[in-house]
Subunit: 135 residues, 4 copies
């Protein structure tokens, strides 16, 4: 339904002393792919704030199948899985050259009303409107 | 069976433009707690490497219940859940003052033989020996 | 005149594939020491914002004499050097055990009026008042 | 003589709670530009290690003229300034759209013999050879 992909080259400082990308840094790459996806519906962070909602990540999971190394070229795919009550986005990371699957994961975000601070149990109309505009 | 806890103060640079800790930075705190736990059995990263095995993280999950803010004092508990075939460690983050639960998660690590690069389907004897020594 | 020191243990994820702390991560340690210093005069970031001024860093320099490694215990000293027109703080990093000098540096911050966005060529009265209260 | 430039979009997690890029993260962008420059002479980190030398950063300086914000497009120029005894590289960061200067800085690296651990007071022949090949 809604998907995006970005190309990334693993930077020096993301690699740890075991010569592989430190697991916490994968979320930098997921972040880039998520921004690309949300921009497709004109609802990246600045637009979220302008709409009166923040969308903090409330859950995430990742599986690391193959390590990633310095200067490796990777492709991160982001796919929108759920949007009715929360925003669930899945990620797949593959080596750009070999197309081998390297890792996968997901993030779940919930809308929070900026003024009241209240968690929304249903996605606010603005998200549906943006999705509808895109589709 | 094996547990550890560390106190951390949220540093300035871990907080994002929404005024809360960026989700990828939680793994910094989990890392500190995991190191404290593994040191109890004398099997932190340097000892892992010396033993001929690396233990890359192959899976992780986290749930973020309450946001964390700049200079907040938190306590991270790490608990060893599995060790026979892989190392599964659970984490709980609580506010130091209110004791309120802020987040939780787990990481799973598998042993990889440094020389052959082969993934071990059963934890190598060295881990069992270290655990036995401690218990 | 105004000085602070903090003890830090080098965390796993700050170390790069050359087995030493990546240079950009030193500013994490400087940040912790600077916060300790500014708290002594009750003028850390939250108090800065509340006072109507931000103090972005406009210049920094660092010299790296000896590399730092995983789990090394270090002590970071921060010293206030200038405050009349800008905030200049010097840092020295030493090994906790050997007391050997590892690195040094400084940061310069200037006050910016939150409302007008204007850079202040003279430190605002609030900084002088906080310093006077402390001394 | 030797110069490189890279285009970067400021990622979400590099921005701090004051809505601007945290100063320590600028070195991520310098790193990317430095890698682009060193690759032109086929002497990036893997080739350095293969040549028997590491090149740790021994000094750096940066000036921050204008803050950078989330999703801002920037261009980082790297210029080789010195190479005979050490590697000194200068950086300029400009806004891609307005071409306005945002920040500048430099890094100095010295060669260290991997086997002996000795600091080289003169750049090893391999660097001169790579530069000569390029020029």
């Amino acid at each position: 339904m809604l998907t995006a992909q970005v190309g990334i080259e693993v930077p020096f400082q993301d690699v740890d002393l075991m010569q592989v990308v430190w697991h916490g840094n994968y979320f930098r790459y997921f972040e880039t792919a998520r921004a690309a996806l949300l921009r497709k519906i004109n609802y990246d962070y600045p637009e979220m704030q302008a709409s009166g909602y923040l969308w903090p990540i409330v859950e995430l999971k990742a599986r690391f199948v193959q390590p990633m190394r310095y200067a490796q070229h990777i492709r991160v795919h982001a796919d929108l899985l759920e949007w009715e009550n929360r925003l669930k986005i899945a990620y797949r990371v593959a080596d750009t050259v070999s197309d081998k699957r390297l890792s996968s994961g997901y993030t779940i975000q919930c809308a929070v009303d900026v003024r009241s601070g209240e968690l929304q149990l249903v996605s606010p109309p603005v998200l549906r409107a943006r999705l509808k505009d895109y589709l």
